[in-house]
Each structure stands twice: as structure tokens, then as C-alpha cells.
Symmetry: D2
Subunit: 233 residues, 4 copies
């Protein structure tokens, strides 16, 4: 577990099961970790358990994201891993959606990711080392009815990931997009007895992120999709 | 040319070659047409030539888009065709881009399209009739280096198109996304003698839009891509 | 209808609704048409109705395909349109399928298409003019359970179409792949009253093929998908 | 390295760098390994180095593949990992290719993979345990000019992989398709000093296969792509 070739990590949009599991894995590998969320209160148990540092951020605010990166580097040094895990979701018929809510949803899913990739790039380019992992969803490869704002945000995130990978990989920065296809099991919830492992285990997801971090640069992935064994696609 | 099964059209993001050719084709088929752009001065020749009506709009402003649709219906009656042809583009290394410009680019390429699809849906759903055509680009299916904001906007547009097609087609509204893959030849420019038709002729693009408008609902396309014969992809 | 820029057509894998509708459209546009199938008996009504010529062929036999093209050119002159509409389908659990049947299915869906594209290319390259249309299916873009041989054949067909388009388009030959997504309504069958146009009308499909034949070379499509308005995807 | 949850492996199409590296990794994890190829002479050094067993097979022959699986199970017991790494490639203009060579190429790339997946499924279904890994290529997601037979074979392989994953994953068998995008560095060859790691290191590829074998069933991938950091895509 100690063979991760990076020395520090920032996870944005922390709070969900994925971020918790990833924080634990990175901490157990010895990396200092900052976890950032709009609401850090809910992060207290994770901070106490792992020794990670919690910082507040509104990911859709470019200046706020810059401050987060500044503060993070003050606290844990030069950043080498950035995970963007935030997203905004509004559901409903197109005709009924509130335009302001749609704008905010796309702002969190896509613009916030851009601001984060930008700050990461600025800090990683001088050393030519780092990894940026973006949490995608099936909604980023297929647009479903009644979910147009989420489709917009997650498609945009995927476009950003591919464009950033094309630009940054040859400069030593590994950019990857993880398509999480299915429901993530809330941490601590018992799995279904009838259909074991029919939702994504956050620990299993986090291990996929670690697989990406450990890839040799002669064989980098820019995208991987994961889903429960029983899920059709 | 008179067999278009719709009676009125609004083209948003007019001014480019595609919008001009499309306006001419729709007008010659007898449809009243409104062409909307941020700057309507440049539309004067097209208005004089075709009798289309020009209206001002900032497509990235939800309230402005709603006013445009209201005014359009006052001028030409119930809308049956809406074409979204606006996009925002900023190029450059991720680290050098201005966050505000990125936000504006995504606002025009993607949020403006959402506002337009929403207004179109509100007006077309009661009659269960209409067509919404969205102008995409190769950047919406593949993310290129140094063009991340355009990738984000055009990927988002494609996600919107697919989600909207899934939701609105079964309600009688044809939503389609046209992937324009290559340089569009400016109207009036002589074609290359060495490589004739090596850029997209706006009249040829417009005919593809008409092909979509004429499709029978038992065989609708949600996406078509077009490129010059000599272009590899 | 007389504006098809080609003068003769060969349809391979005739017999289905698509081929019948396409034969009628091409004949009504004045083109001589050869329709080829393994069993030509069933083509008699279509021959009598349209004046098309029926020829026998086993599309999975390379030599037979070459003879078909030779004979076709003897009968109707230099070929300018070739449509490949044959496919082989075996369904069932992977473990239960007969290897020989799988080989035959892939032979008809994919190898037969290659032999036909090759014969078409040989004949069209000298004049730098022609169109090759390949009938695909949803199974060519998504692999479904219990249908692996059809997935193999239709994926292979799509790969052939894309490779052939990249090679032959710059030489003046338009290659396009039509993804027919849904059930095709048998010719003559009444449509559902509850859900009108919920299966693909063969006449509507054929009109899409004609749209492709009429595209200007500055804006060629290599792929288009069509499905009934009520079909989710 | 000993945490691979499977106990035996068969690699078909051995000989290339990928198979060699994978054989070493699996052997060092303690698994008995059979490596199969049309020509086993070239496998002697690998057999001597690793203790793997070499068997002859013509992968495009269904009966031969069945015999290979029978013999493999006699030698190393119930099979739990099968890797299909064979492919047939013919290059050239469509008009110049030999139909028989095209058929053989598709036979090795695609039909041989089907026969192998089928034999694997028959043996793994009773226990509901196993993994099948298929070596794909960029040619399986994009059709290039002058390479239509390889496009057909690799597209077909990808269709098979997706269809098989949909069918077999819910029965406990992990099917995955690895898109190897770029040139694989021959084993033992010095890497470029100017552009280090600009071709895929076979050891790095093999580690990706191991990552897949170690995935938890609540988060299985059916596809992953890998390419050198400097490669645009």
C-alpha cells in the first residue's frame, strides 16, 4: 500500500462514500490528505478517524477554489494528487426546471472541475508530476430523460477530462476520468443479502482510484468505468 | 422544398454561414423566420435578402431567452422549429485561461442551449409538435488539447441533446444534434481549386438540417455527423 | 425524386422491408436496380412491381460476390450505388451456441460486407464516383447479452464502414453506415393504433438512405442512426 | 502479489511482449500457467524461465480450441483465468486485399476469441467464478484507412466482449476488454532516450491486467484503455 508514487492529496467534494474510502486508503499509505467540502461539519468523524484536514470550499467559485489550493499547500506541501468528486444534480422535466438551479448544477459538476484542474495544473506543471482524478457517472456518457442538467454537467466533465489528458499527460500529469456506473452503497450500510454487491462498494471504488495512481506512465488510462457485477449496461 | 412539416422557425446564434443558408432555405420554403443574435447589425443584409426578422438576444441569459421566445411568437406565431447555433470558444493552455471567460464560454455553448430547449419545450409540448436542432462540433465527441472550454461546452450540449431527445421525442418533439466536423466555408468565399469542397459548404450543412426536419417520426435521428469528403476522422 | 446523383444500384441482402422500399424509391427515380439474395423466389412480387432484376448470391462467398458484381454490370452497366443489407443472426447463451453457426453468422454480417465493399471499390475507384451504404443495427454500437454473434458481426460491419469511409471518401466514394435502432415494420402490416409509428417504417428508412445519396461531398455523413420517436435509447 | 483471487491461467496467442510479462506476473503470484500459440518453439525461453506449460493451438479452429482447453485442464486443473491475446492483421487498400487472408485475419481476431470465451464460459459457469480478459486495440474503437480487416476483427472482439460481459458478469464471470493504444515495446528493447516510455511497456500492460483480476465484483470494469503518456488520442 505504500507504493503510491505521490506524496500529498486533495479531495474536493468530500463527504460521500467514495471520498471517505479514498481518504482512508491514502492516509493508510502515508499521504497527508486535505478533504474539502461546502459543509465540513459532516467530515468531523472522518477527520478524527484518519487525521485528514478538512477545509471549506464552494467548488463553483473560482476564487474560492484558488484559496483552497493555496491553503492546502500551506498545510500539506506541494500537491501531487487532486480528486474532484463534487457534482450538482437537479432532476425533472425540462420545462419545469429552474434555470438558476440548472446553472448552479452545471457550475458544480463542470466549472468547479475546471477551476480545480486549472489550479492543479498550475501547481503540477513546474515539476511535471501529479495526478488528477475526476469522478464521472454514466450520465456523462449517456443522456437520460428527466436528467438534462446532470447530463450536461457530467458530459462537460468528461470533455474536460479528455481535453486535459491530451494537454497535460505529455507534460507528466496523469488525468483520468472514472465512470461510476451504478448506485454507491452508503458507507456502513449492510449489503443486500439477496443480491450481494449489487451496489458499488466505496472501498472497491477507491481501490480503482489507487490502481490509476499506480499506473506506469508508459501505460496510462484516461478513462475507466466500474459497475456492480449484476448491473446491465 | 415546400414539404417541411413545420410552419415557423427561430434560429439562435445567427450570423454564421450555417444560419444564413438555413434562413434562406426555410424562407424559400415559405416559413416565417426569426434570426436572433447578440449583435443584429451584421444581420441586415440577410434580413433584406430574405425578409427574415432579426431580434437581439444574449443566449446565456435565461430571462433574455424567454423574452426572445415571447417576442418571436408575437411576430411569427406558434414556434415549430428552433435551431441553436451559438457557441462560446476560448483557446489556450488550461493554466492560462481566465476563469470568467471559461464560464461565459460554457454559458453560451451549453446553458444558452438549455434555456432555448426549455422555452421550445414549453411552447411545443401543448401541441406535441416541433423540432429542435442543436449545432454540435467534433469537440463535443472528442476533447482536444488546448481547447478545454469548447470541449466542456460542446460535450454538455451533446448530453443535453441526448437527454432532451429521450424526454421529448415520445412527446412528439424531434430533438437532433448535428456534429459539424471541419471548417465551415465562409459564405461567398471561393472554394479551393486544389482541393474542392475541402471545407463544409454552409448550403450543404443547411440541407442536412432540412433532411432532419423532413424525417418521419417512425425513423427519427437524434444525431448526425457531417464532414468534407477529404477529411480524415 | 430524380435528383439522385447516381445512375445504377445493387442491393445485396434483399427481401426485407428496407430493400423493398429502397428498390421502389430508386426505381421511381429512374435507376436500374439489381436486387440480390440467397433465395430469389421471394423477390418475384417486387421484381414484377418495380422492374428490378433479381440475382442469386451467397454473400458470404467471396467468389460468388465477385460473380454477382460482374453479372450486375453486364445487366445494368457501371455500378454507382451498392447497399449491403444482409446479416446473420444466432441468439442464445454463449455456452450453447454452435461454433459453425457463429462463423456463418459473422460471415454473412461482416465478411460478406467486406467482399461487397471490395468489389464496389474496385469498380468505383477508376471513376472516383459512387456510394456504398451499409445497414447496421444497435447491436453494432452496443453488445447485448445472449446475442454475441450478432454483436460481433454488426460491430465488425461498423469497423469496416469507418475504415472504408476513411480510405474511400477522399477518393470520391461515399461510404455510410445506417444504425437501424428498433424493429422494422413488415411491409404491408398495419401500424399499431395504440402507438402509431412505434416500429420503423421501411419507407421512412429508405428515405434516409436517399438523403445520404443526395448529400454534397462537402458535408458527407459516415453514420446516421434512426429509431421510432417513442423508443428510448 | 499473491492476492490474485484465481488459481490457474491460460493465455492464448502467447509470444508477444504482453503474454510474456503476464506469464511472469501470474507465475510469480503462484498460479500455474498454460501459454498457447500456433508456434510454440519461440516460447521455449519463457517456459524455461517461468515454468509455464506451452501448448500448440490454431485459435481460429473451434475444435482445436476445445482440445486446448481440455488439455489445459488436464495439466493445471480447473481454469479460472483466460486471456485472449491473438489477432490477425492484414494491411492495404481494400481493393488489393486477398479475401482469403481477410477471412483468416477476422477468424483469428474475432472467431478465435469467441471459441475461447465459449470454452471458458462452459468451464467457469458451473462454479460461477472466473475472469476472461480480451486484448483489444485502438483499431477496435476507431476504423483507420488501409486497415479494414484489423478494424473488423477488433471491432468484433469489442462487441463480443461487451455482449459476453453483459451475459456472464451476473453469473460471476468477469469479462474485460483492454484497449492497448499504441506500440508495445518489444521485451528487452532499450527505451528511447529522447522520449522515455513513449511506447507501452509490456510489464506495465500486464499490471493493468492484474488490476482487473483483483477488482471486487461490486466494481468491475468491462473496459479500460491504456496508452503512453506522450500519445495523443
Amino acid at each position: 500500500m505504500t507504493d503510491i508514487p505521490y506524496r500529498s492529496a486533495l479531495i474536493i467534494g468530500a463527504g460521500s462514500g467514495i471520498s471517505g474510502s479514498l481518504t482512508r486508503l491514502l492516509r493508510s499509505a502515508g499521504l497527508p490528505v486535505v478533504i474539502a467540502a461546502r459543509n465540513t461539519d459532516k467530515l468531523t468523524p472522518l477527520v478524527e478517524e484518519t487525521g485528514a484536514i478538512a477545509l471549506k470550499v464552494d467548488a463553483s467559485d473560482a476564487a474560492g477554489v484558488e484559496r483552497l489550493f493555496d491553503e492546502t499547500e500551506v498545510r500539506i506541501g506541494a500537491l501531487e494528487v487532486v480528486v474532484y468528486n463534487a457534482s450538482g444534480r437537479v432532476r425533472g422535466p425540462i420545462a419545469d426546471l429552474d434555470p438558476g438551479e440548472v446553472e448552479r448544477a452545471v457550475g458544480v459538476s463542470a466549472l468547479g472541475a475546471f477551476y480545480s484542474v486549472q489550479q492543479a495544473a498550475k501547481r503540477m506543471l513546474p515539476t511535471g508530476k501529479g495526478a488528477i482524478l475526476l469522478t464521472g457517472a454514466t450520465a456523462g456518457v449517456k443522456g437520460f430523460a428527466l436528467s438534462s442538467p446532470f447530463a450536461m454537467g457530467k458530459f462537460a466533465l468528461r470533455g474536460l477530462a479528455q481535453s486535459a489528458a491530451q494537454e497535460l499527460a505529455p507534460k507528466g500529469i496523469h488525468v483520468a476520468h472514472v465512470v461510476v456506473d451504478g448506485r454507491v452503497r452508503p458507507t456502513g450500510q449492510e449489503e443486500s443479502e439477496e443480491q450481494p454487491d449489487s451496489s458499488l462498494d466505496p472501498d472497491a471504488i477507491a481501490r480503482t482510484y489507487l490502481d490509476l495512481l499506480r499506473q506506469h506512465r508508459s501505460a496510462w488510462s484516461w478513462e475507466i468505468e466500474i459497475r456492480p457485477w449484476v448491473e446491465s449496461f
